[in-house]
């Protein structure tokens, strides 16, 4: 069966990992996401921008103890997309069995 109907924004290892983390918490800093995903700074930065452009997350940049800090939160659109994605893979797995 084709895996195409799944949301292409979420069907990526790092973006899906980020969304799975953000759906479970209220707010997360860039460094926390970096630690939990084990990604590189550059890659995480790029994937966060894609999620932000899709309207799935909100990114707030500020300064914390004189260092730049990026805080991310999931949006309602992001939660809906994530739930749709999970439903999609469940359907696929059910059909596989």
């Amino acid at each position: 069966m084709a895996f195409a109907p799944l949301d292409p924004i979420l069907h990526n290892q790092l973006r899906l990992a980020v969304m799975s983390l953000l759906v479970s918490v209220e707010r997360a800093d860039f460094n926390w996401l970096l630690e939990k995903t084990g990604a590189t700074r550059g890659n995480l930065s790029v994937q966060l921008s894609k999620l932000k452009d899709a309207g799935y997350i909100k990114v707030k940049k500020s300064f914390k103890d004189n260092y730049p800090n990026t805080a991310c939160t999931i949006t309602t659109k992001g939660v809906d997309a994530f739930e749709g994605y999970v439903k999609g893979i469940r359907t696929y797995l059910d059909q596989e069995l």
Partner: protein, 193 residues
């Protein structure tokens, strides 16, 4: 380059990340130990000052409250920065204990203005957030601590006022300090440094 995922890999990844996020809430043993020590001490000191005939014996309570508030605030801010994440559990606990503090202050003002000893009411109220926090973090000793606050609070209504501060100190040891020590062992064991 983007990594393609199979559906089962996707599901596994989601489960792993959700599990990781679940383990990220702030440790709360510090607050139970801090407030347990401060107010158990306040109870004993208040009792001794009363026996010594000191008029302003009650000053120890707001003094400990201010110290505890400052230390808690600084610790909370530092932990929040270090942790880099705010979970729903952290948020619920923040609002629970925040609203408890407001109710506590109002209750003390009300009790004092009625000429009543506030200690039994404070203990009865403290049972609620202690029990709920224990239930939220699934830690039975803390739930038991909450029940002890309710029981000792009820019993302290029938204790002579001169011993009220000592009973309060005992309740803090039983309801905060002992569960706090057990919680520290539990939390340290869960997430070794």
């Amino acid at each position: 380059m983007e990594t393609e995922l199979t559906p089962s890999q996707s599901l596994q990844l989601i489960q792993d990340m959700v599990q990781q996020a679940k383990q990220s809430f702030q440790k709360s043993n510090f607050y139970f130990l801090l407030w347990g020590v401060l107010f158990a001490l306040a109870g004993v000191v208040d009792h001794l000052l009363q026996r010594a005939g000191v008029q302003m014996h009650w000053v120890i309570w707001p003094a400990m409250g201010v110290i505890g508030g400052l230390v808690s605030g600084i610790h909370g801010a530092r932990e929040g920065k270090r942790q880099g994440v705010m979970t729903w559990m952290d948020r619920v606990q923040m609002w629970l204990w925040g609203s408890y503090t407001i109710t506590l202050v109002l209750l003390i003002v009300a009790a004092v203005s009625w000429g009543r000893d506030p200690n039994p009411f404070v203990l009865l109220l403290t049972g609620l957030p202690t029990f709920v926090t224990g239930a939220l973090i699934r830690f039975r000793p803390l739930m038991f601590g909450g029940v002890l606050f309710w029981m000792i609070g009820l019993l302290s209504l029938f204790v002579l006022r001169e011993y009220s501060s000592l009973v309060f100190a005992f309740a803090l040891v039983a309801g905060y300090l002992i569960p706090g020590i057990l919680l520290k062992q539990h939390e340290d064991g869960l997430r070794p440094a």
